[in-house]
Amino acid sequence: MSQPTFLLDGQSVPFDDGQMILEAARAAGRYIPHLCWHPDFPPHGSCKLCVVKVAGRHVSACATPARAGAEVESDTPEINTERRTLLQMLFVEGNHFCPACEKSGDCQLQAMAYDLEMTTPRFRHFFPDRPVDASHPEVLLDFNRCIYCELCVRASREQDGKAVFALTGRGINKKLAVNAESGRLADTDFAANDKAAHICPVGVILKKRVGFAVPIGERTYDRAPLHEVALPKLEGDT
């Protein structure tokens, strides 16, 4: 029996039973935007950037199993406008001051804003007060840029076996916390070679003393846009 397929923006995408829409699309070389999803972890479904429309309903592509014959809309003006609005809300909620951020050019939030041509934050900025944690000798935490994707929380708990990070509070009072009595990263067993130290899609978890080793203008998303970088390398790619 031939492999089942669904339609993504009118084009056929094959999938394996149980595979999510986003995964199947990626495997077929088709990009669906995402921030909290990572190939090494189960779907989280919190950022909602991967939202697609299936049979008139909005669903998260990372957490919705593909179904044979389904018609999935993703790269449409309607969905991309909604994604841009989500990005704008993420930008005004934190302090995303790109000109002073050493992650600029390697940041997925910024690169997605470029991809979706977000030119204005549109909403009123919150300008929250979020002190940085520079206590750790090798790693700096700048909470101003956190988008609560929980990738560091999941990486530390599931892969490093340490549970260094957690989200505390609810709704607008939610924040990233460090699991130590003092609340300082230096008082945990966090190490610079942990998985959690390298998974932040934005500029919260930063290795010290290498911030500008790669100059601005020669970074990941200076060379290619996110929708190309985010896809897995296919056979025959160089």
């Binding site: 790109c98 000109p99 030119t119």
Partner: protein
């Protein structure tokens, strides 16, 4: 056939560093093509102090004091198309990094608490515009038609943007000219 009317353009730097204006000059020889099509109204380049009726207003910098508010409202009232040019106009930028601090404490830290300035006072000359408690992106104060990100936007991005506007197209700056830094 008569030559088309030149468009009137005004520019201003509010709470900015003039970097966007420097970048505007970085359009190099395009400046001749630009001056064939536009004439400048109020701008640091003309040193005019008030803005007349204009087709396009380019605003650099956010809103950090009372004078910025007046100038920005004048631009909105006079310009058919108002553009937020650069990071500060769009999201407050560097000046907005004081927004989580108390403005009174900022002033006393700068003017009174530094070594050798123990007896100094915070300047209160009536000619000085009063600082606002927060620095605001310009779209929080007036309606803005278009946004041109960058810190500063490159000369190339500015030229593409202005060329679109002058030609009557919806201006669009996309990858790889679109930058927030």
């Amino acid at each position: 056939m008569s030559t088309p009317r030149k468009l009137r353009v005004a520019t201003v730097s509010l709470a900015g560093c003039f970097g966007c204006h420097m970048s505007l000059l970085d359009i190099d020889e395009h400046v001749f093509a630009l001056l064939d099509k536009v004439e400048l109204d109020r701008s640091p380049l003309t040193d005019l102090k008030t803005c007349g009726p204009c087709d396009i207003g380019l605003v650099e910098g956010g809103v950090c004091n009372s004078e910025n508010v007046h100038v920005l409202r004048e631009f909105r009232a006079q310009c058919k198309t108002l553009v937020a040019m650069g990071a500060c106009a769009i999201n407050g930028g560097l000046p907005a990094q004081r927004n989580h601090l108390d403005v009174g404490q900022c002033l006393s830290a700068v003017f009174q608490s530094r070594p050798g300035m123990d007896t100094a006072e915070v300047p209160d000359d009536p000619e000085l515009p009063l600082p606002l408690d927060k620095v605001h992106p310009i779209h929080e104060v007036v309606r803005v038609d278009y946004f041109l990100p960058g810190c500063p936007p490159s000369g190339e991005a500015i030229w593409q943007f202005i060329s679109d506007l002058l030609a009557g197209r919806t201006p669009r700056v996309s990858y790889p000219l679109l930058h927030f830094d």
